[in-house]
Symmetry: C2
Subunit: 148 residues, 2 copies
DNA sequence: TATTGTTATACTCTATAACTATA
DNA sequence: TATAGTTATAGAGTATAACAATA
């Protein structure tokens, strides 16, 4: 019976709208850095250290062949490179170049600021509550995926 | 100084994780219905009624030419169709076919259930609080985009 | 045999530019 | 001139299948 009741949307609908919003921001920021969204994601992952091709394919939920193409393009642009892995002559290691690291950090910083514009207007208490609910969803989903 | 402090992530990071999570779910459900994510989105939009090609292009943030391709494929599959608009012989109206409506509803229902699995474990109070924070972010962003 | 990565092929999605037809 | 839509072309991202090299 409150005044806001009539405007209340389904939680799922809100979740979809929020996802589309963040997705739009992500695409816009990627564009600003002359990166595709997947390329930006790849660079950000590599900020955490070198990764194998198969490892990256699994993280991204794509086939190995897709990673080959992704890496061909990112390597042609001088942002990351493949190098041999000592101890396994089949495997390749993907590492950021200096330019790639710079691009990754610039993108990540910019993206952080863009998301801040979204969350800054929220009160500290609400924001903290929101964060904990989000963390709950994320962590529950992780366990449900690893357990079956 | 609480025990959870050490595990707390940045709100922005949580937002990205949540977005990736919902995105993964969306792709999985689309796949289950033999649709690409964009096709699923198109069908869902059309559940709200017929739309013009230019209108759809603007809603999706893509060029008109991209809509032409999208519609070519969805029409070839018999899920939607283009028809003339009385009063403007340049314009075309996009409508769901019976099969398209059925597919759209099935997808939407499935997606709703998948999102419920995400939000059901949250307490009613937390969920409501979460929903209102999300609505705040979405509505603030809408006004900031229309005002400049 | 299993795993790591590549190549070849095809499809979807997208942008740009040039075009037609109508307003 | 401006708007609605299409066609042509190109590139990114993806899947599948077949392959080579190594474990």
């Amino acid at each position: 019976m409150t005044e806001t009741w009539a405007d209340q949307l389904d939680v799922g609908t809100g979740l979809m709208q929020l996802t589309n919003l963040v997705q739009d921001i992500y695409t816009t920021v990627s564009d600003r850095h002359d990166l595709t969204p997947v390329q930006a994601r790849l660079l950000c992952v590599l900020l955490g250290g070198p990764r194998g091709m198969a490892e990256l394919a699994q993280m991204f939920g794509v086939e190995k062949a897709a990673l080959t193409g992704l890496m061909d393009r990112i390597e042609k642009r001088g942002l990351a490179e493949r190098s041999a892995v000592p101890g396994d002559r089949r495997a390749l290691q993907v590492t950021l170049t200096a330019a790639g690291r710079k691009a990754a950090i610039a993108f990540h910083t910019d993206m952080g600021e863009a998301l801040s514009a979204l969350t800054d207007p929220i009160s500290a208490a609400d924001r903290d509550h929101f964060r904990s609910v989000v963390e709950g969803m994320v962590s529950r989903c992780r366990t449900s995926r690893s357990n079956g």
